[in-house]
Every structure is written in C-alpha cells, then in structure tokens.
C-alpha cells in the first residue's frame, strides 16, 4: 500500500483521499480509524462542555433517555440519542452491543463467551460490558466473522 502525502496551497482544510482497486479488511480498518478522527462530538460534565474526539471514546451508554459518553476514566453527557449515534457511526469502529450500549472496538481488550450466546467484552480500562445475543451477529461482522 502506497502512502502519498502532498502539501498543497490554498486548501480550506486538509483533505484525505483514498484510492483503491478493491476494499479489504486492512483498508476498512484504516478508513474506520480516519473516520473516527474526522468526527468529534461535544459532551457535558459539571456544566462544562468539552469537544471529545471519537478516538477517545470507549463506549456510549443510554440510561433513562439520557446518553452518556464513557472515556477511559471520565463520563460526559451527550445531547444525541443512541440511535442517532448508531446511524452516524455506522462505518466506524463503533458497534451496537446491546439495547443501551455502543462500543468502540478499538478499545476492546478481549471478549469471552457466556451462556446463552452472549459475550462479555473487557475494555482496555478494565471495565466489562455484555454483548447481547441479538447484537452478536453485528458485532462479529465488524471482525469479518
């Protein structure tokens, strides 16, 4: 794979253009990583708003109609609904794993099967999440399984 970086005058913002003959897993991962870094969202904590890069997000969780952004050790509230996030993050490394949770697969440490076709996902920060059986096929598809 060739990496070409060009400096060009007069651009309003940096451009990333990817040329390919056939899409493969490796390229898809790279594109997912780029999409993660292109997008960001704002989160609120203690009345203060912060712009959060998607790359720092471990998972999104929805409780009582409110959506929260979980980072390594901090939690922010997000003004978007979980289904809106799911739609926006469809082509990234995020995947829905339960009715209330969307996880960033880049932040996964490991997974292990539980009884009744569910998985337990361990995150890099030690937190554990349950991958619901109905979302398992979508989760596996993210890994090409």
């Amino acid at each position: 794979m060739k990496l070409i970086i060009e400096q060009s005058n007069g651009l309003e913002e940096p451009e990333i253009k990817v040329r390919y003959d056939e899409m493969d897993d490796r390229l898809q991962r790279i594109l997912g990583y780029i999409r993660l870094n292109v997008h960001s969202l704002s989160g609120v904590k203690d009345g203060k708003t912060k712009v959060i890069s998607l790359d720092d997000v471990y998972y999104f969780d929805s409780t009582d109609e409110r959506t929260f952004i979980y980072l390594a050790s901090e939690v922010y509230e997000c003004d978007m609904k979980l289904y809106e996030l799911e739609q926006q993050l469809a082509d990234t490394n995020f995947v829905r794993i339960s009715k209330s949770c969307i996880v960033n697969i880049i932040k996964l440490d490991s997974v292990r099967p539980l009884i009744n076709s569910r998985y337990e996902a361990k995150l890099e920060n030690g937190e554990k999440l349950i991958i619901n059986r109905h979302y398992l096929p979508g989760f596996k598809r993210k890994f090409g399984i």
């Binding site: 009715k99 880049i106 009884i115 076709s117 399984i145």
Partner: protein
C-alpha cells in the same frame, strides 16, 4: 439473525439434542429397541422443541433467567404434550416424568456445551483480530 443462520441453528440444535436423546433412550431401555417409527417420533419432538425455541428468540427477551425458564417450560410442555400425549412415547407417571426430566436436562447441557464450544472458537478469532489491530495501531 438471517434466515439461513436460523435454519442452520435449527438443524444444529435438533440434531445435537436428537443424538443425545437417542443415546440415553437406548441406554435406558435397550429391551424396547428402536423402531423406525420411534426414531422419527423422537426426531419430531426434538425438531418441535428447536422450532419453538427459535420462535421464542423473536421476542428478544433480555432477562436471562426468564428466558431459560421459558425455554424449560416450552421444552417440558412439548415433550409431554407431543411426545407423551399425541405420540404416546411414554406413559404419564411420576417415574417417567423424572426420567424425561433427566433426559431433557442432559440434552440441554450437551446442546449448550456445543454452542459454547462454537462461541469459544469465534471469540478466540475475535481476540486474535483484536491483538492484530492493536499491533497495527
């Protein structure tokens, strides 16, 4: 889960449970022998249970204990209504109830163990890919 996957699950669960039931049946009642008709009747019961379990799946019950309870009741009801009532596979008495309960439990444990083994292979593959992803970051 798409239709092909559901059909695949249906046959896997049916064939696994059918194998276990046949083995236990032959071990418990070797003198009865297995007639052609009896084999098909046992298969019909296993297939009916698998079908009911797959239909239950559509309801997306989140509570694991509730789901396992529903599976158990459905299985028990199918065995006794279809197997005992319609197909007359066994007489209705306490001894048979306990034997059938034991057979169902054994079949359930084997099916769950087979499913877990399959999921373990999948999770190993995912963990391998996660390790590769981390190396490439």
């Amino acid at each position: 889960m798409n239709l092909i996957k559901r059909i695949s699950v249906f046959f896997t669960v049916t064939c696994t449970s059918f194998t276990v039931i046949i083995l236990i049946y032959c071990a418990l009642w070797p003198e009865l022998g297995l007639t052609f008709r009896r084999v098909y009747e046992l298969f019909a019961v296993c297939a009916a249970i698998s079908l009911i379990i797959i239909i239950t799946d559509f309801f997306r019950i989140q509570n694991l204990l509730l789901l396992l309870g529903i599976y158990f009741i459905e299985t028990f009801a199918t065995v006794f209504l279809l197997g005992g009532g319609i197909l007359k596979l066994f007489p209705f008495n306490l001894k048979m109830l306990l034997i059938v309960l034991g057979m169902l439990t054994a079949a359930y444990v084997v099916v769950v163990a087979a499913a877990m083994a399959n999921e373990k292979m999948c999770s190993d593959e995912i963990n391998k890919k996660l390790t590769e992803m981390k190396k490439n970051r």
